[in-house]
Amino acid sequence: MKRNAVAVVVAGLVVAGWVLHHRADRAMPTPPEMEPVSARGVLKPRLPAPRMSTRAAPLETPTENPRPTNAFARLLNNDGNPPELSRAQVESYLAMNRRSAESLLTAFRLTGDRALLQEASEKYPNDARVNYAAWSAAHLDDASSPEAVRARLDAFKQSAPDNALANYLSAQHYFQSGQSDQAVEELIAAFGKPNFRDYSGEFIQNLEEAYRAAGYSEGEARAAAGYSQDSPQLFALRELGRSLGDLATRYRQAGDEPSARAVLQIGLDVGRRLDESAGGSLLTRNLAGVAIERRLLGAMDPNTPHDDTGRTVQDQLDGLAQRFDSLRGLWRQAEPMLQGMSDQDLISYFDRLKAFGELEALQWVVNRQDR
């Protein structure tokens, strides 16, 4: 139910955003070029970029923060919340793993004790997962200064030079502080990087091991770990989508249509990357990707060609609307099936979620029971 409510709120926000953007679009002049927007690696926005006002950090909480209920969590009668481990259990897990980077991060996640994150940062300053977790913690902490968040982002970028996610998060932070040129530079850097990793699969794996070490069964450990991740990056990336929409509008207002289109293209690429399932990714990631694409396309002339197959922007929007519905429908269809699954099948479900993402795991559930 909690998850359904989240999905409805997300849908509402997306629809509202789409309507607002669609309305704004009517006042816009028709783009002079009719080049397909989805072509990759061709367009680049002009620098210096038009100025954008500095925005305060959003106060709203991430609506799609994925902490849904799941069958096994209910089975444990814990209302979807993963079971808590005692400090002694966590210490034993840490000792068993020789206080490795990932075990410290897992222990931090389980206890919320910042000293563990600090220890990880000090001992493993070049570990990408540590720097990502440190960014995540700083990003979610209202008391963190922008400089502290920037330092975390720079460390993450340096430790994960092939990971486009670091550049995207950095770009949004620059947008947030009004440094549009630096943001555009980050986006250009991200564009050529094939990897987009938020370490969800690894995170689940480590958490699962911690639960197993604490005596939980295979099924319990998987269920407890499978839905325990926070996803602050999704909120940051949705903000990035908004920033890119704003920047495109400003380029357009400045008469620089090619840069406006380049920015939209970058934003669409962010959306597409999110909508590609990966190990450990939840449906909320797919939904966030679709929402970004719909928002950006909604700001365009619907008759513009979308790609070289003859599809228009409107065709693509229609396709995305269908995908949005099917993603939500998939969960509704699979949830009751999950509740009735055997322990062995639940183990397979969570293994599939960890290795391929929730979307593929849910499709497996439906295919398995719906023939």
């Binding site: 050529g192 699969g201 293994d351 960890k354 290795a355």
Partner: protein, 376 residues
């Protein structure tokens, strides 16, 4: 400031690359363009003629692992084959889905199950991929082509389909078609060989037959065939030869493009979409090294300022890292270095180890195992 300057320089180089790519004809002089730029150059058609290769008679060194972990641990080297009746409950529970039929085929070796998969799920990419390799040696060239076309059609976003098709064309002397397939492969950034799917399904089949978590995972991971790697390695060799032929014909731009494709191939093989094994790393870096060795070592490799020689050094370091990792976890120096580690791990750790392969790849899993066993 330094970072900003660098980024501006990068952007400039990227724009320069776009401009170069958009030139209608490449310069006849040897190009100094960064070598690993993606999707930039395309070789000229018609391509220089290459002799059709005889059907491969050499043993396929990367097709199968010489040892099977579970058999070594539990069955003294015997393959862990299930009987048909052992997999029937699994098949029924899975509604005889494409993937369950393939998994059952793998664990029983019963070709009737593959036939059923082909009949029931003719447009499934995994079925077409599995069928191509399972039947490859029994098919006529026409049947092989038909099977490859089915795979391509069912997996239009998978560069692997185009690569396998290209290799088959090279093998039959149809170089132009091979080049067209290679150009098509460039538009798909990832190779997908379904290793992760395969392991997951076969693991479930073993579990359903009564094996424990650890046994099922070990049996699945070590029963993984990677026949495509041998094909891709030969494709890398063919790209090197094609490049030489272009160069002999005076077409340096196409020669460069062929090598660039070889580099892209090597990198894609080393970083497949989904689970990756040490064999992916080794074959991928082998392909890339072999291609780069045909280049001027001082020429630029990419826009970061690295030369071809720099990249060759990186590849050598990576190879050495793998060797050391294997040595650290298997002091006896056996080919299957995992056996040493796995005999030392508890069943609980075995489960983690194989899960880590699925999530982070074999290299990371071995690092974890080494740390777990107290190594540095």
């Amino acid at each position: 400031m330094k970072g900003r300057t660098f980024l501006i320089l990068m952007a400039g180089l990227m724009i320069l690359a776009v401009v170069l790519v958009r030139r209608p004809r490449p310069s006849p002089t040897a190009p100094a363009e960064p070598f690993s730029a993606r999707g930039a150059l395309k070789p000229r058609l018609p391509a220089p003629r290459m002799p059709a290769a005889a059907r491969a008679v050499e043993p396929q060194p990367v097709d199968s692992r010489p040892t099977n972990l579970l058999s070594r641990l539990l069955k003294d080297g015997e393959a862990l084959t299930l009987r048909r009746e052992q997999v029937e409950p699994y098949l029924e529970a899975s509604h005889r889905s494409a993937e369950s039929l393939l998994a059952a085929f793998r664990v029983t070796d019963d070709p009737a199950l593959l036939r059923e998969a082909l009949e029931q799920h003719p447009t499934d990419p995994q079925v077409n991929f599995a069928a191509y390799f399972a039947l490859k040696n029994e098919m006529t060239p026409e049947e092989r082509r038909q099977r490859l076309e089915a795979f391509k059609q069912s997996a239009p976003d998978n560069a692997l389909a185009s690569y396998l098709s290209a290799q088959d064309y090279f093998q039959s002397g149809q170089t132009d078609q091979a080049v067209q397939e290679l150009v098509a492969a460039l538009s798909n950034p990832r190779i997908r060989d379904y290793s992760g799917d395969f392991i997951q399904n076969i693991e479930e089949a073993y579990r359903a037959a009564g094996y424990s978590e650890g046994e099922a995972k070990a049996a699945a991971a070590y029963a993984l065939p990677l026949p495509q790697l041998a094909e891709l390695r030969r494709l890398g060799q063919n790209l090197g030869e094609l490049s030489s032929l272009y160069r002999q014909a005076g077409d340096d731009a196409s020669a460069q493009a062929a090598l660039q494709m070889g580099v892209a191939l090597g990198r894609q093989v080393a970083e497949p979409s989904g689970s990756s094994y040490l064999l992916h790393d080794l074959v991928g870096l082998g392909i890339e090294r072999q291609v780069l060795e045909r280049m001027d070592p001082g020429s630029p490799y990419d826009t970061s300022g690295r030369t071809v020689q720099d990249r060759l050094n990186e590849l050598a370091e990576h190879r050495e890292e793998i060797r050391q990792l294997q040595g650290a976890v298997d002091p006896d120096g056996r080919w299957d270095s995992l056996a040493g580690v796995l005999q030392s791990l508890s069943e609980q750790d075995l489960i983690s180890f194989f899960d880590r392969i699925k999530v982070s790849g074999e290299m990371e899993a071995l690092r974890w195992a080494r740390a777990r066993l107290g190594g540095r």
